[in-house]
């Protein structure tokens, strides 16, 4: 029973932290343009928590983030983020479990993978629709990652503090 309460508390904290990021994205970052793109935090939200929580829990968390994004953002297919973000979460979880310990570097690499997956999926959809734009897509993907990269640090600190707060016994 205690374990269940702790689990609920932990994921509530993760959800609250993510909701805060959604709020910042929607109220502030969406109105700013750097290097021709708006800072796009959602792939980071799908990539960073799994580096702390591992592949399974991380993938489920990213699935929830993806579903929330699909509900909020217009896209070429209704389940774009629900498909892409769990993959990004799985990659991030496996990365932190096998190669890089959770931390700034791991978050950075996971974020790069998330942006790569998201951008590739977008380009793939454009290609399937007969309006391929690989070069323009790659350019937007690189710009998007470069602009969002500085946010890896505060988001890693935020999710690490949630992780430490909810894993006191570890």
């Amino acid at each position: 029973m205690i374990a269940r309460n702790e689990t609920i508390f932990k994921w509530s904290l993760y959800a609250a932290a993510t909701a805060l990021c959604f709020l910042i994205q929607g109220s502030l970052l969406q109105r700013l343009v750097f290097w021709g793109v708006i800072p796009f935090l959602y792939p980071l939200l799908a990539a960073i928590p799994p580096t702390f929580e591992g592949p399974l829990a991380g993938t489920i968390f990213s699935l929830c983030v993806g579903a929330a994004c699909d509900l909020l953002l217009p896209g070429p297919v209704p389940c774009l983020y629900t498909l892409v973000f769990p993959l990004a979460g799985l990659c991030a979880g496996l990365l932190s479990q096998s190669w890089l310990p959770a931390g700034f570097l791991c978050s950075f690499v996971s974020a790069a993978a998330a942006f790569l997956l998201h951008g590739s999926f977008r380009c793939l959809i454009l290609w399937m629709r007969g309006t391929a734009a690989w070069q323009a897509g790659a350019l937007v993907m690189v710009r998007e990652f470069c602009v969002a990269a500085p946010f890896v640090i505060p988001l890693t600190l935020l999710y690490r503090s949630v992780f430490r707060r909810t894993h006191l016994d570890d």
Binding site: Q30, F40, P74, R122, L126, T131, A136, E144
Partner: protein
């Protein structure tokens, strides 16, 4: 005292009589105040002046306090009045802008009798991702807005098409979004084509006009409007103007790059065409 009056009473009475008579005589003889009255007045005059000065000072003080209090109250009232007037001016400026837009829209309604039902909506959010070009509006299905409705600005330029509509919100995909595709016609040559978003041009706010006839001779600046052939969208809405004509990768067909007439970044208010009559 009694003794004094007994001994000198008569003398005092006599002196008083002499004095009275003297004063009376002097008063009759002199044109101004008598010397004695004058002397008394001269002696009392500084006291009178002093008393008057003190009274005046006190009165001034009282008036000053009263005036200050009144001025403060008046000042506060004026400040409130100014604030209200400034608010009215601001509102008036906003109303003037709104009126201008509605007047332009009224002209458009007069010119375009096929556009039967408009709904004004505020733009609450511009692009939400780097991969789409969209606007979010503050009106939705509760006011009859549906997916597929055309959205125009106050000048009648096409902004985009509603892609999703909720109860009190709706999302517009602008003309330059990759998911937007509509029948178009070049106003001058009557050539038909398909105006559609292209991702490689989306960041530059440009779109393509594809499937042009082989013999089309477009010029830069040619106006492109909706053809309305499918019946899904009204005809004659201005999409934009031709910026450049290019050959496609095969080299066999040409396409035009269009500069949209609507300025998507500057839009704050748009009009959703809820219904229209098909003009044949």
């Amino acid at each position: 005292m009694k003794n004094f009056l007994k001994q000198h009473g008569l003398w005092v009475l006599f002196a008083a009589a002499v004095l009275s008579v003297s004063l009376a005589v002097m008063s009759v003889l002199s044109a101004n105040a008598s010397p004695l009255v004058n002397l008394t007045g001269v002696l009392v005059s500084p006291f009178r002046a002093g008393y008057t000065a003190v009274a005046t000072w006190f009165n001034d003080l009282q008036n000053y306090y009263k005036d200050t209090t009144d001025l403060q109250a008046e000042n506060a009232a004026l400040r409130q009045q100014i604030a209200k007037m400034e608010e009215t001016i601001r509102q008036a400026e906003a109303d003037v802008e709104e009126n201008k837009k509605f007047r332009e829209l009224m002209n458009l309604t007069k010119q375009r009798r096929d556009l039967t039902d408009f709904e004004a909506a505020m733009v609450t959010e511009h692009a939400v991702s780097n991969w789409t070009s969209s606007l979010t509006l503050n009106k939705g299905t509760s006011l009859g807005i549906e997916a597929g409705d055309c959205v125009i600005d106050e000048c009648g330029n096409l902004v985009g098409v509603i892609s999703q509509a909720g109860t009190n919100w709706s999302t517009v995909l602008t003309l330059v979004d990759t998911d937007t595709s509509l029948g178009a016609q070049v106003f001058r040559t009557k050539d038909l084509g398909v105006a559609q978003g292209d991702f490689s041009m989306m960041r530059k706010n440009r779109l393509r006009l594809d499937y042009l006839p082989a013999d089309s001779a477009l010029l830069a600046g040619d106006i492109v409007v909706t053809s309305g052939l499918s019946g899904h969208y009204p005809s004659g809405l201005v999409i934009g103007s031709v910026e450049e004509v290019r050959l496609d990768d095969s080299g066999a067909a040409s396409y035009a790059i269009l500069d949209p007439a609507a300025d998507f970044d500057a839009l704050t208010e748009v009009f959703v065409i809820k219904s229209f009559e098909i003009v044949t």
